[in-house]
């Protein structure tokens, strides 16, 4: 691959991710509206919100760490996008691999923790403490799932994993071969996206949106952008691991949107768990299902 194509892919992949992510946010809000029998926001609403937030006159910074935290939160996901192969573009996916990706996906939470720490708002600190606890909770099943998939396909290279699945057709998909791991993965996905019942760190009515409590203007805008990336990353990763990646863009997007729709639909049907309940649930059921799946895979 020539250096020009590589550079172009590195620019294009996050851009595509952002645009797809905007539509995912729209889908999230539309699903909520449909379940509550409302009309829901107009198509461009996520974009309006972001442009408005960046166009605010007052931009309150709480110091250097606050600025850098937001950059880390968005930048971590931008880096993750270049490691996620999409149809026609591999970026640096075959050099990075699954382990790097899992590592990079933790950076946003840590960046947010740094940034929010400087805001010195007790609600923010509680929110971050909960966010990191939640990460601890969902990362255990997540790592089991990633390990199982890598073991089954014999590689941690996402490009190879997708190629193997596509060679076998639907029967070769990870979800067909490892249904238990796929189910555990869904739990981890729900926790990763921070949707109800695992919405412990946003909790608007309880700790006033936790990490976002002191964010205004472009800082909140940055977090809105981060949300787009987050939905996209989680969806594409699941599709790459279990649903055979994308043969072409049409099927790829269909699969990704279908996967992301699951946690969103579930979210609007549940209230919120407490932190300890979330950990107990996460370390019990998905871990048990995941370990069982792992046993089948390694057998």
């Amino acid at each position: 691959m020539s250096i020009q194509t590589l550079l172009m892919e590195l620019v294009l992949m996050p851009l595509v991710a952002f645009v797809v992510g905007l539509f995912m946010v729209l889908m999230l809000r539309r699903i909520g509206a449909k379940l509550q029998r409302r009309v829901g926001p107009p198509v461009m609403q996520p974009l309006y919100d972001i442009v408005k937030l960046y166009g605010k006159k007052t931009q309150i910074s709480h110091g250097w760490m606050h600025d850098i935290g937001i950059v880390m939160a968005v930048g971590g996901y931008v880096a993750a996008e270049t490691l996620l192969p999409v149809p026609g573009m591999d970026g640096i996916a075959d050099k990075g691999g699954l382990v790097t990706l899992v590592y990079v996906m933790m950076i946003p939470s840590l960046g947010l923790a740094l940034g929010v720490g400087q805001c010195a708002n007790p609600n923010g600190s509680i929110g971050i403490a909960r966010a990191l606890t939640a990460m601890l909770a969902y990362d255990v099943p997540f790592v089991i799932v990633v390990f199982g998939v890598a073991w089954y396909f014999g590689t941690t290279n996402l490009v190879d994993i997708i190629a193997i699945q596509q060679a076998g057709g639907v029967a070769g998909w990870g979800a067909t071969a490892m249904p238990l791991l796929a189910i555990a993965g869904l739990f981890a996905l729900q926790g990763m996206l921070g949707k109800q019942p695992f919405e412990i760190y946003i909790a608007p009515a309880e700790i006033a949106t936790g990490p976002m409590v002191e964010m205004s203007g472009k800082y909140l805008g940055g977090l809105f952008v981060m949300q787009c990336f987050q939905l996209y990353t989680a969806g594409v990763l699941y599709v790459s691991l279990f649903l055979g990646g994308g043969e072409n863009w049409l099927f790829f997007l269909l699969k990704v949107f279908a996967v992301v729709a699951i946690p969103m639909t579930v979210a609007f049907l549940f209230p919120r768990y407490k932190t300890e309940q979330m950990i107990r649930l996460m370390w019990k059921w998905p871990v048990m299902i995941g370990l069982l799946g792992l046993a089948f895979v390694m057998h």
């Binding site: 509206a33 409302r38 009309v39 107009p42 309006y48 408005k52 007052t58 009515a205 976002m212 964010m215």
Partner: protein
């Protein structure tokens, strides 16, 4: 307090060299009007008409209006009904924490002229003496249709650039502060440095400073680190300091 008329000069437009500046301004104004985050802070009985306006029946979200929980994130401050003097202090504190451009909507007759609490000793009668109100929605209480109609009006005014109450607060701060002092006493102060903000936004005018801001500066106490106490097993311990 008598209302004094202060001439308001049009803000001098900075010399903008970018040919796309106008297009850009238009876009930002459009997005501002289509995406309004309103603060969940309900003062009086008029608030009861907001849940129906937000939920399935009238669905504010289709206009891009969303509730937000902290003043930092919000664009609109809804004053839904009478404000008692104690509440008004909190409302002003909240307003000053919000990021510009910010808009205030007074819902209910009580915010317009005191409504049925006209004779009460404990309520502020006219909201626009203390805060720059961009829009009033009259009624006791206005129905959700009226609330939505008002929101649409505000959208139009934001889009055309008319809704600039927040600038008025900076330009005539002395007058607003005077009314606030009249109600709360001479030692009234908020953590926000409004005069500094006014000069930051180039909005400081002849009405920004005056006798009332001088009084404020005389009475101003410096902000002190706030001490938090946790009661652990009967003994009172100082656990930490948080800085404003």
């Amino acid at each position: 307090m008598k209302e004094i008329d202060i001439p308001i000069e049009a803000s001098v437009d900075r010399n903008r060299t970018n040919p796309l500046a106008r297009v850009f301004d238009e876009l930002v104004r459009f997005c501002r009007s289509r995406s309004m985050f309103m603060l969940h802070y309900c003062t009086g009985c008029g608030a009861i008409e907001l849940p129906p306006a937000m939920t399935s029946r009238f669905d504010m979200e289709r206009l891009g209006i969303q509730p937000m929980v902290t003043p930092r994130q919000a664009d609109i401050l809804l004053i839904t009904g009478y404000v008692s003097i104690k509440t008004l202090k909190r409302v002003i504190l909240t307003y000053e924490q919000m990021g510009s451009p910010k808009y205030v909507i007074g819902i209910c007759s009580c915010t317009v002229n005191g409504g049925m609490y006209w004779q009460s000793y404990a309520t502020a009668k006219q909201l626009d003496q203390y805060l720059p109100v961009d829009l009033y929605i009259a009624g006791c209480m206005p129905r959700p249709e009226a609330v939505l109609e008002g929101m649409r009006k505000l959208m139009d005014r934001i889009r055309s650039g008319e809704a600039d109450g927040w600038k008025d607060y900076y330009r005539r701060y002395d007058w607003y502060l005077g009314n606030q002092q009249h109600l709360f006493g001479d030692d009234w102060q908020t953590p926000a440095d409004v005069i500094g903000e006014a000069s930051h936004y180039d909005l400081a005018g002849p009405g920004t400073e005056g006798e009332h801001t001088r009084l404020l500066q005389q009475c101003q106490k410096p902000l002190e680190p706030q001490q938090t106490f946790f009661q652990i097993g009967g003994s009172l311990e100082v656990k930490g300091e948080s800085h404003e």
